[in-house]
């Protein structure tokens, strides 16, 4: 079964008050939402808090999902809103921007099993590019879905992905060459 239609079905059942569907959605989507927050914030505690807050908000506004519409952009639009709100608060109270700048300087140590650490790999990217790459490459969303989740156009998403790749290329190879492509991303 297509994973997206499966999610749509779970969402419809969740709207009908089915607890097993709600639980299935929580267990299925939480790891990628958690990663979405972890890519933006270094602290795991922050990511935990934001994940919890996101599910509470999703629960409050679950009636705004309409059957037939793509599910992931709906989830990510809400998660992104929670993250932006949190970022604003954090910036005001703790001088978050300076701390993130420090994080950007970090190198990308390997993750478990020798795989590169995604959070550190994406850390040098500006926030808007980081979220686009995370949605395209980790969540596996299409350009159209990312555009929906970020309230922007497909052209803008492509541009951000392209710039992110230029930046990653510089970081990974030390050569500032652009090839004018943004890798394998789904168009539809």
């Amino acid at each position: 079964m297509d994973p997206n239609s499966d999610l749509e079905m779970l969402m419809a059942r969740y709207q009908q008050g089915d607890f097993s569907a709600a639980t299935a959605l929580i267990y299925r989507l939480s790891p990628q939402l958690h990663r979405f927050f972890a890519v933006q914030f270094a602290s795991r505690g922050d990511a935990d808090d934001l994940l919890q807050e996101t599910w509470l908000r999703i629960h409050q506004v679950r009636h705004t999902y309409r059957a037939g519409e793509p599910v992931l952009p709906w989830f990510y639009a809400i998660a992104r809103h929670i993250r932006v709100d949190h970022y604003r608060k954090a910036s005001r109270t703790r001088g978050r921007e300076e701390r993130l700048e420090d994080v950007h300087e970090a190198q990308a140590p390997p993750g478990p099993g020798g795989a590169p650490n995604l959070e550190a790999l994406l850390a040098p990217l500006p926030e808007s590019q980081r979220e686009v790459i995370e949605m395209l490459k980790v969540a596996g969303m299409s350009l159209e879905e990312v555009a929906r989740a970020t309230s922007s156009s497909v052209g803008s998403v492509k541009q951000k992905a392209h710039r992110a790749y230029e930046r990653l290329r510089e970081q990974l190879s030390g050569v500032g060459l652009s090839e004018g492509r943004t890798g394998d991303v789904r168009e539809g």
Binding site: R62, A67, L72, W74, N117, V138, A147
Partner: protein, 231 residues
Amino acid sequence: MKDKEIDEILRQAAQAPRSVDPALLDRVAGSLARSLRPVRPLPPAWVLTSGLALICVAVALAGAARLGFYGIQKLSGGERALIFPTLGVLIWLGAAAATGEMIPGSRRRIAPATLLGAGCLALLAVFGVLFHDYRTGQFVSQGVKCLTAGLLHAAPAALVSWLLLRRGFAVNPVAAGLVAGTLAGLAGVTMLELHCANFEAPHVMLWHIAVIPVSAAAGAVLGWAARVCRR
């Protein structure tokens, strides 16, 4: 380094398992279970968009009926054929944009600021083409009267629109407020075009069109206030 190689690195990094504390997930599921009941999903976007457009037209017609249809009576057939379809298209675009802003993950066809700018420019162009009387008699007193009347009709349009969209959720309340304000402003301008018989170009191009940015700014401020309160 080629894009394919970067793709591969990102793919490997993304495959690294991301564990979330099961206790946290249980806690989330538990907190949702307490208030889990069936909900009625929002109606389709076209229903909301049509509703918003109808609200704007109804408010404009009701306002003009109360104040008098002097403007539309004085306009020629050609002028009516250019002004009102333009307003109709802008109202439909504004209604669609407002609906999109209230539903997370909607496709954004036009950015709120673009809608505001393009709407004002389109009306400036239409009025610039149609009206060539450049006298400025009672420019300020007449203008303030029209601006006030336009805004007084934008307010109920905004209020009724909010009632229609209140079940939605604005992920960006400022953008949603800006779009809703623009839409309400268009309702105010439509009422003025139906009512106001002053066709002096400076009057129409400044005071009538000004209803839109003023209303949009008010909407954005309210959206900002809503965001502050939500925190």
